[in-house]
């Protein structure tokens, strides 16, 4: 059994949407108010960890190319690492604030994997555009969680991190393999499906 890949993209888009909304809410109300209910402290780290676990079946099921398999395993591992580290920080099992840097690391690795596994130019098709855009958004957006490690109460950095995740979510929702991008599609990309 292999689910449609687009379906999988949308599932993870929903995951990033949840992460982005949670982080935006935390930035708006502040960490003190956000942390009044204990389950909220575990919410987005837990979601990130679960997304990492859920990425493994994707890696195993989509073996139609080596590069996709490797890229998906990289995403699975960094999501589990960063989600796990944030959960452990929330729980008090880890104490060093530098563990927050794993989130920035996850974005950099994920962005690099997205760029490396896409071999076509930006305007080849919408899938190519989304992979390039997502890769650079992740790499550029990594600055927010990295800087937030040193200024954890900054609204701008928290909101910037949330916005990064929301943009990733929108990009994943708009992912189509063979579809136009800004009215353009490569003649060798095949007939658009949508």
């Amino acid at each position: 059994m292999q689910p449609e890949a687009e379906f999988v993209h949308w599932l993870f888009a929903t995951g990033f949407l949840v992460l982005g909304v949670c982080l935006l809410a935390e930035s708006v109300v502040g960490p003190d108010v956000w942390g009044r209910s204990i389950w909220r402290a575990y919410l987005w780290p837990g979601a990130m960890f679960v997304m990492g676990v859920c990425m493994w079946p994707v890696m195993i099921l989509f073996t139609n190319s080596t590069i996709h398999m490797v890229a998906h395993s990289a995403w699975a591992q960094v999501l589990m690492l960063s989600g796990g580290a944030e959960l452990a920080l929330a729980r008090g099992k880890l104490r060093s604030p530098y563990w927050h840097l794993t989130v920035g690391l996850a974005l950099v690795v994920s962005g690099a994997a997205s760029l490396v596994h896409e071999q076509n130019d930006w305007l080849f098709s919408r899938a190519a555009f989304v992979h390039h855009a997502m890769g650079w958004v992740m790499i550029a957006g990594a600055i927010f969680p990295i800087a937030r490690t040193f200024r954890p109460r900054s609204f701008a950095l928290g909101a910037g991190f949330a916005a990064t995740l929301l943009v990733i979510s929108v990009l994943l929702y708009s992912h189509r393999d063979v579809a136009e991008i800004f009215g353009h599609i490569s003649p060798i990309a095949g007939t658009p499906h949508r």
């Binding site: 689910p3 449609e4 890949a5 687009e6 379906f7 949308w10 599932l11 888009a13 929903t14 995951g15 949407l17 949840v18 389950w39 676990v53 493994w56 079946p57 890696m59 195993i60 989509f62 073996t63 139609n64 190319s65 080596t66 590069i67 996709h68 398999m69 490797v70 395993s73 699975a76 591992q77 589990m80 796990g84 959960l87 452990a88 729980r91 099992k93 071999q119 076509n120 080849f124 098709s125 899938a127 190519a128 189509r176 393999d177 063979v178 490569s186 060798i188 990309a189 095949g190 007939t191 499906h193 949508r194």
Partner: protein, 423 residues
């Protein structure tokens, strides 16, 4: 509705807006992967999920001697399938090697097998596929070492320490965690290396090679799938045990890890070669599980207990000594049985490569047994009566020495597993 339930409902709704198309992939090959046909098919047809570009040599069908039996390939009218007419194929096994340019511009390659009147071999034994290399021996060794850290670490914590003492918690969980991560990583590397051996593609083409026939059509692929997903679950259980200080979660992790070790037994010589049976599979699993518990346990004793918990040394050593006696008995019993099955004639030991490697393994096992016997019959009674000064430090070094021999045994075992038994 409560907030978490509302959040879940919204997330579910956003995730289910229907399905669309995906990355280019081979949807339907004809003949199918490892299909056994009664008579010669007229052509090989590969149907893809989107338009592709084909070349005259996009499909090449070879017999077991490497003779090409297909004519030039061409696209069908809808440009989503490639067809290569075949000459009349006699009874035998055939290899299909294909490559196309997918609609998104990526070159995609693959390989699979089918049989006419005979069972098709797995893709790893297709024409042109190479056997395991030296690098794969090292990767297999790394896999055994990683598994031993997971299984041995969990086994030592639960069966010897009967919990996770606070002074050992950090290092013990680090060792087990390292073992799990390495098991996953080395498993992926090993699978790709085996696929490379079957596909015989340069690195760049290998990146876009279709691994589906190997992932879904071979014992290796099934074991890789089950073991990868299984060890992800093991990682979650161990992580939660550490996060919430719930040692009880380590029990399912240990049982699952031991069960997953059977993936190697069910995909190796003891399951696939002539003379294999449920008994050889079971014996191989017992042999492997006992080895993993023994080697990993030794490593934990030498690297965790000895340097970090002086007060636990005596108890841990005595308990592990008792457990090791059982493990060695199981290891030897299963190992001797498997040797008799695989090498029915005594002279196979020095006339075949498999026998020679087995002899080296037996030699190393003998050294380890002597070392273990010294610990059991000399060190153990001394420790049981009292703790004389000077002994613990020397015993710690001695345990490291025994661990090194055990790791060398795993290296030879890796070479043995990758060698073809005679017959």
């Amino acid at each position: 509705m409560r907030a978490p339930a509302l959040l879940f409902a919204v997330a579910a709704g956003l995730s289910l807006p229907g399905a669309a198309f995906a990355h280019a992939s081979l949807e339907q090959p004809s003949p199918g992967y490892r299909e056994r046909l009664a008579s010669s098919p007229p052509a090989v047809v590969l149907r893809f999920d989107q338009e592709v570009t084909a070349f005259p040599d996009s499909i090449v069908v070879l017999n077991s001697q490497g003779r090409v039996l297909s004519d030039q390939a061409a696209l069908t009218a809808n440009r989503r399938a490639v067809l290569a007419p075949l000459r009349k194929l006699p009874r035998g096994a055939y290899t299909v090697r294909w490559h196309i340019l997918s609609s998104d511009g990526h070159p995609v390659s693959g390989l699979y097998t089918f049989g006419v009147g005979v069972a098709a071999p797995p893709p790893t034994e297709a024409f042109g596929a190479s056997g395991p290399t030296r690098a794969e021996d090292i990767v297999r060794w790394a896999y055994f070492l990683s598994l031993s850290l997971v299984v041995g670490g969990l086994g030592f914590a639960l069966l010897v320490l009967r919990g996770v003492p606070p002074q050992l918690s950090q290092r013990l969980y680090k060792l087990i965690g390292l073992g799990i991560v390495a098991t996953l990583e080395v498993g992926i590397v090993g699978f790709i290396m085996r696929a490379e051996g079957a596909l015989q593609l340069p690195f760049r083409k290998l990146l876009y090679a279709d691994l589906t026939p190997i992932a879904s059509g071979t014992r290796l692929g099934s074991a890789f799938t089950a073991m990868t997903m299984g060890f992800v679950i093991v990682s979650v259980l161990v992580y939660l045990a550490w996060l919430f200080d719930k040692v009880v979660l380590l029990w399912p992790a240990l049982l699952l890890a031991l069960g997953l070790a059977s993936g190697l037994s069910l995909s190796g010589h003891q399951a696939a070669d002539r003379g294999s049976s449920a008994a050889t599979e079971l014996a191989d699993w017992i042999h492997l599980s006992a080895a993993l518990l023994w080697v990993g346990g030794l490593a934990v004793l030498a690297l965790c207990v000895w340097p970090l918990a002086r007060e636990l040394r005596r108890t841990a050593f005595l308990r592990f000594s008792r457990l090791a006696t059982l493990l060695i008995a199981a290891l030897l019993g299963a190992g001797i049985y498997l040797s008799i099955v695989r090498l029915p004639a005594v002279d196979d030991l020095w006339t075949t490569r498999y026998g020679e490697v087995l002899l080296v393994k037996v030699g190393l096992v003998s050294v380890a047994l002597l070392w273990g016997a010294f610990h059991h019959f000399v060190a153990r009674p001394t420790l049981a009566s009292a703790e004389p000064s000077g002994w613990p430090t020397r015993l710690g070094r001695s345990l490291l020495g025994e661990s090194s021999i055990a790791m060398a045994i795993l290296l030879v075992a890796a070479i043995l597993v990758n060698s073809k038994p005679p017959g």
